[in-house]
């Protein structure tokens, strides 16, 4: 049990810091979909190891494995002989679990509330577009395009942006937003946003949130170029970046345009297999450590 606990603790630390940092520095966008799966595996495996470590160390003195350890915890006799430090570890495990699950729930509620308010405003301030599918037009000089996910997901484009884009570029923008909506990219970001809020002191959570936010843009670009010319999308991105005052947009815009300038990477199948194998291994490692009594 002590060996299991130590291994889990090492895994938790590695997943909380060096692994996300290394992955972010690798800046791989060859296959964004599987890259995102890898981030999710890191998040889940990290959380599992962290909570598992606390439970394993708390139950180690009286249990052969975490299974018997958890069963033992239901036993009043076992509970009565627990030391103060065992109680502390168990409370930490419970609080951590509650914090992670709770923040996911509260983040979902807050997102839904914000979106409802936003949809009400959009309905009053925008007109349905005659030219573009599932798109609403906002009369505003500020150049902006975005999508509002949800049951009645829609794309919103300002007149300020429409004026500077050609017809082909407008279609490309809408195709990109439609991809976000169709594949529910908002749900992929949600857990990372929630965990970043729950554990802001764990550097992995903000690194992961940033990487995932960028990855969904590459994913939407990949989907969009299946229905519109990649060049039109790249031009739309450049034009938007040129008229957009937000300085933080420039690096992502440049990276996306550079990616669209070339055909989809040939290596993406190989990278996908590698990423998926790595994700499965990451999830299996803490699961096996927790479940396998042989490690006791």
């Amino acid at each position: 049990m002590l060996l299991t606990g130590t291994l889990l603790a090492i895994l938790a630390v590695i997943l909380a810091w060096p692994v996300p940092l290394a992955l972010a520095r690798r800046a791989a966008t060859i296959d964004p979909v599987s890259q995102l799966a890898l981030w999710q595996a890191i998040g889940l495996a990290g959380g599992l190891s962290l909570i598992g470590t606390a439970v394993v160390f708390a139950t180690a003195p009286f249990a052969e494995s975490i299974g018997t350890g958890l069963v033992g915890l239901v036993d009043a006799e076992v509970l009565s002989v627990l030391q103060w430090w065992q109680w502390t570890l168990l409370i930490v495990a419970v609080l951590l679990s509650l914090r992670l699950i709770g923040s996911l729930i509260s983040q979902s509620i807050s997102v839904a509330r914000h979106r409802r308010k936003h949809v009400a405003l959009v309905e009053l301030l925008t007109e349905p577009s005659e030219e573009l599918p599932n798109t609403r037009v906002l009369s505003s000089a500020e150049p902006v395009a975005y999508c509002l996910p949800g049951r009645s997901g829609t794309t919103v484009v300002s007149t300020g942006l429409l004026e500077v884009l050609t017809s082909g570029q407008r279609k490309a923008v809408v195709a990109h937003e439609q991809a976000h909506l169709e594949y529910h990219h908002d749900l992929l970001v949600l857990p990372f946003a929630a965990w970043n809020r729950a554990l802001p002191f764990v550097p992995a959570t903000s690194t992961a949130l940033g990487a995932v936010s960028a990855l969904i843009e590459f994913m939407a670009d990949d989907r969009a170029r299946a229905v519109v010319p990649a060049a039109a999308l790249a031009e739309a991105i450049k034009t938007n970046a040129a008229v957009d005052s937000g300085s933080h947009s420039a690096p992502l815009a440049a990276a996306r345009a550079a990616r669209l300038a070339e055909p989809l990477p040939l290596a993406r199948r190989r990278v996908r297999v590698l990423n998926l194998v790595a994700s499965a291994a990451l999830l299996l490692l803490p699961t096996l450590l927790l479940a396998w009594p042989l490690f006791a």
Partner: protein
């Protein structure tokens, strides 16, 4: 429901154009091209009041309805929400040109440099 949304928009446009406010009957006149029943106008106004876009002057007979904020203020409110730089807002809505934080800027610059080297 789409028609109700359109009616709400028309009612708001009429109220935004008349800052002194309008009665339900006057509003119905403004919407003559759609010719809604007076009860429909009342329904729309009640909905808008519940959403916080319209206030009612109950002292006047008949009640006068006023827009709570100007159209420009509402657009500004919408834009603030959209242009918010916080990355966790991406779960609420996704901008075409999403904003990234400073740490991601480093990550993306390395990506661009790498592309340039590869060429």
């Amino acid at each position: 429901m789409a028609t109700l949304g359109e009616l709400e928009r028309s009612v708001m446009n009429a109220l935004w154009n008349t800052p002194s406010g309008l009665t339900a009957a006057e509003l119905r006149g403004e919407l003559s091209d759609r010719d809604p029943a007076l009860t429909t106008v009342h329904t729309v106004l009640t909905r808008l009041e519940k959403k916080g876009f319209v206030s009612r002057d109950r002292a006047a007979r008949p009640h006068r309805y006023l827009a709570v904020s100007s159209r420009e203020d509402h657009v500004a409110e919408l834009m603030t929400e959209v242009l918010d730089q916080a990355p966790d807002r991406q779960a609420v809505l996704a901008r075409f040109l999403g904003a990234v934080s400073d740490s991601d800027t480093a990550f993306l610059s390395s990506l661009i440099n790498r592309k340039l080297i590869q060429r």
